[in-house]
């Protein structure tokens, strides 16, 4: 690949990185790539390096994401699951949803363990759990009650839809309840400590 085309292709591949990383370092990376090309470095070598850094940066972006960001990601992923349901069937989507749920729980636990012990962190965690529950409920509501075509509904096996629906609705109610109880517990403990 030659000259400007190579740099344009490299810049296009930067789209694979998280937006913030791209905004902060995208221009500098293209500039460095251009300098290296002048030195005779192969285009493929820099692209291989770029592709290696993509999962690393996405992993870091997920780690530092706020809870609301995680909920947005969960909503987007659920949207992808809906499309997956329509195209390849329910099994893969159910698996994706399970993995997503495991990831959200793990992220919340990690976030919790990184906070100092105290009633404030309990209240914060409670609100986060409640928000996660409400978000899950909203997503499930759209997922099962949305105006999707009949052909899409028929593509989902009944037992899979029932299982996912049960998990989503019961899970969201449990999350909201546990979250609100945690907030109340944190509030009560905080009042006792302040006396």
């Amino acid at each position: 690949m030659r000259g400007d085309h190579a740099c344009r292709a490299y810049r296009a591949l930067l789209l694979l990185h998280p937006r913030r990383f791209r905004r902060d370092f995208g221009d500098a990376m293209v500039q460095l790539h251009r300098d290296r090309r002048r030195d005779g470095t192969s285009w493929f070598r820099d692209v291989a390096d770029l592709l290696r850094s993509v999962p690393v940066q996405h992993k870091e972006a997920l780690r530092t994401m706020t809870t609301s960001g995680k909920l947005v990601t969960a909503a987007i992923t659920t949207g992808v699951c809906v499309a997956t349901f329509a195209v390849i069937g329910g099994g893969y989507a159910a698996l994706t949803l399970t993995l997503l749920l495991a990831w959200i729980v793990a992220a919340l636990l990690r976030e919790r363990s990184g906070q100092p012990a105290g009633t404030t962190s309990w209240k914060t965690t409670g609100w986060k759990l409640a928000a996660l529950g409400a978000g899950t409920f909203a997503v499930a509501f759209v997922f099962f009650g949305g105006p999707w075509p009949d052909s899409w509904r028929e593509a989902v096996p009944g037992d899979v839809a029932w299982g996912v629906g049960f998990l989503a609705f019961v899970g969201s109610i449990v999350l909201v309840t546990v979250g609100l109880l945690t907030v109340v517990a944190g509030h009560v403990a905080g009042r006792r400590l302040s006396r």
């Binding site: 500098a28 460095l32 790539h33 850094s53 993509v54 870091e60």
Partner: protein, 103 residues
């Protein structure tokens, strides 16, 4: 990260110069591409080990799009601590080798 800190102890540098300096410091064994380099720079900026410099050389001599970085006091401390750690490791390794040799 350690190699980058070592390179930056010599003064402010931009990505391209840093990459070459790291290659020199490691006799060419560590070769960083743009993704690896700026991934490490991002982490070092977040950890406060380095900072971006506002000062620019003469525009006639350098591309204004380049970003310059310099080491911070925390970066100096981290670098010194790593040098100490490696010195201790090397001393102990040499000692162990001598003892093995005389056993």
């Amino acid at each position: 990260v350690f190699h980058l800190l070592l390179a930056l102890r010599e003064g402010e540098q931009h990505g391209y110069a840093l990459m070459h300096r790291v290659e020199d410091l490691t006799d060419g064994t560590v070769r960083m591409g743009p993704g690896t380099l700026y991934g490490a720079i991002k982490r070092m900026l977040a950890d406060g080990l380095i900072e971006e410099s506002d000062e620019r050389p003469d525009p006639a001599l350098d591309d204004q799009r380049r970003r310059y970085y310099r080491i911070t006091a925390a970066g100096e401390r981290a670098c010194a601590a790593e040098v100490d750690r490696l010195e201790t490791l090397l001393r102990n390794a040499r000692l162990a080798r001598t003892e093995l040799g005389t056993a």
